[in-house]
């Protein structure tokens, strides 16, 4: 009995030790969410600090806002196109660098440079690269084509997605490369040698041994990059500000414009909650699919 009382007292003491940090974490993590939820039911805008209850008005507006859904679609397009390319290129580069080559470390360090550049700087750099008059991209295409090529990369609809994707892939493929290089270097060599002795081909070895071995890391990399792409902002902002029109506007840009340029505070809160819900569903599904939740 005394032992039980001692154990429960012990537990109480342990809880009291962690309680302050849990409260702080809850305040930091949950309070903004609750506040966001409250604001989303109000009518705060640039003009009105109207904190009265507006019911579901902002949510009704949200579902009838074509621009919002288009921006979501653009975000999905960027994600669906960029993610597999970054993954494929990152994996290919990692495969190239898995063997010990002369100067390997220098090359790896150089390849990783784009990741350390701030995305807005990367966007601004690519904006200069794509400049129709002085940019090296048009210059190089001009050399190849044998004539002047004043392509308007950030103006014409058929080029603007290519421009953004090139910049995005340039910056973030090295991230994939780095993670996958680390994963590949942990693959059991003896299994690879055994497969080789047994006469297994490259692809068979890759799919049966390498891929299962690197999959946990790859899944995390996909998840991180997927989330990053869903929040895509800087590069697009620097290159097109979401234009022409709203043709390249992502959900993050839409939210920024609504919240910080048009001061639709309550409506933006509703948009932010929608994004949080969408991302949470997406992440939980992904975690379940890749069995990482445990």
């Amino acid at each position: 009995m005394a032992a039980t009382a001692g154990r429960s007292g012990d537990r109480g003491f342990r809880y009291s030790l962690v309680a302050p940090s849990i409260v702080i974490l809850l305040l930091i993590g949950v309070f903004p969410l609750v506040y966001l939820l409250v604001v989303s039911f109000q009518g705060i805008t640039m003009m009105e600090t109207d904190t009265s209850f507006h019911g579901l008005l902002n949510y009704r507006l949200l579902f009838s806002d074509a621009r919002l859904w288009q921006s979501l679609l653009h975000t999905i397009v960027f994600t669906v196109v960029a993610l597999p390319i970054e993954l494929g290129l990152g994996l290919a580069m990692a495969q190239l660098f898995i063997d010990r080559l002369p100067g390997r470390q220098v090359f790896v360090a150089l390849l990783v440079l784009p990741v350390v550049v701030s995305p807005i700087v990367a966007g601004a750099t690519w904006s200069l690269m794509f400049d129709n008059r002085f940019g090296p991209v048009n210059e190089i295409i001009g050399w190849i084509a044998g004539k002047e090529m004043p392509l308007l990369w950030t103006v014409k609809p058929d080029l603007v997605y290519v421009a953004i994707l090139v910049a995005e892939i340039w910056q973030w493929t090295p991230f994939m490369f780095l993670l996958l290089l680390a994963a590949l270097s942990r693959v059991d060599r003896s299994q690879l040698e055994a497969a080789q002795i047994d006469g297994a081909g490259y692809w068979r070895t890759f799919f049966r041994i390498v891929l299962p071995a690197i999959w946990p890391v790859m899944a995390v990399a996909i998840l991180i990059r997927g989330l990053d792409l869903f929040r895509l902002f800087d590069i697009v902002w620097a290159l097109t500000k979401g234009g022409p029109g709203t043709m390249t506007e992502t959900i993050s840009i839409f939210t920024y414009v609504k919240g910080f340029q048009q001061f639709e505070t309550s409506y933006t809160a509703a948009v932010a909650l929608l994004i949080i819900v969408l991302l949470s569903v997406l992440v939980l599904t992904a975690l379940r699919r890749v069995s990482l939740s445990r």
Binding site: M46, M47, D131, R133, P244, G245, Q261
Partner: protein, 493 residues
Amino acid sequence: MSAFSPRRLVASAIRNVLVPAAATGLLAFSGTASAENAAQRAVEAAKPLCAGGKTISIVWEAGLQSLDPLNYSGPLWEKLTGCKVKVVEVPTAEMFTKIMQEYRAGTGAYDALNVVPSWMPDLVQAGALEQLDSYVDKYGYRDELKNIAPTYRDNQMTVNGKIYGFPDDGDVFIMYYRKDIFANPKLKREFKAKYKYDLAPPKTWQQFDEIGSFLTEKLKSKGIYGASLFRDPPYALFMFEERFRNEGGRFFDGNTMKATVNSEIGVKALEGMRHENRFMPPGVEKFGFVENLAVFLKGQSAMTISWPPYGRFAAGYLANEKALDWVPKSQIAGKVGYALPPGGHPELALGFALSVASSSKQKELAYLLIQWLNSEEISNKRVQLPYALRDPFRNSHYTNPGYLKLWPDAKNYLATLKEASETGLLDLSLIQTDKYEEALRQGVSRLWAGDDPKAILDDVAKQWDSITQRVGVDRQKAIYNAWAAKSGAYPKR
């Protein structure tokens, strides 16, 4: 023409601008001057308030604009009063947001503000600007305010009859053209033979199209295009607003508040804008202030339309000024003529007014600073600063003897600016103007992307109607009709 020399210009500017400025500063500093004008009254009133060393923060457009308070007016104010001036540099596109954010946060971080006049109704309604009437009376500034050029004074100073800002920048678009090209006898002869009228700065957009395409056809082999214009959407937006109204367009039906920007006139204006790109330099779709300036100063275009600094830069006015290192050396000094843009009613695009932040903790001092900056005496110096971008906005600026001597053609330049200010058109100013402008900006970017002008303007009108609905039709209608009744809203017909 042979009398033109950058060295002489420098000497003339030093003689006419900097020496009197320094002299005035020293005179006031010595305390011998009586408070006989608004600038001196502001200084005298500020001195006791500044005792112990205070700092006034002022939001100013980042870049060249802010060299005025950083290099000239800020240090001079400190010398005269003891108050430091902290310049908060903000890019134009972020100024409204920053001002509103600070106001909402209520930190009192900004004391004085530069605001674009078309934002004033929004800022006033939000409560971000301090009403200035009582200060104006207290410090005897009304008389000097009367001498601000009528367009700016009557349209960019008040909201609902109350003063919220002092117009401080005479922004207006004028046309700059190459006098040497337009005076070329061979070109004149050939043009007359083809179009049956004289080669001269265009009075209509039809003429602009004909002259521009003719000059490109004749001069492209020499690397000269007939024209180059702002096409980057944030700038082209103003070009559209100007052209649309010159052609007879109206933004809204004043009775119903339905958007009428998608009228035939609007569609024709957009079609014309796109069609004209054919005789402009490749990539003109991306031309903003700097790109267009570079092309014009290098002598690569025969006509352009822009804000007043183009005229000063093109004249080679103080070309050796260090702050202007980034401006390409003018290849066309002495060859530039000035005219009103086609239609004769140029856009009074943007501009700045000086205001006091309602959340400031030292409003009186902030007010005194802006009265001093905006005063007859000090503004006459400021508009002549070679590196700053403040343009003439007072009657006295257009006739300032020092300014008139700054370069051989300064007289024509100032006369054109004055005429432009008198016939100029105000930027659209409503509640939530930026939302209306944003829809139009996006529309212009779609124009360069190749979309159908009618479809673009139908979308813009739809968005405008939706914004109006959200603001409240009656509320917005009252604001719009008040704006439309102003002298510079629409051309008088």
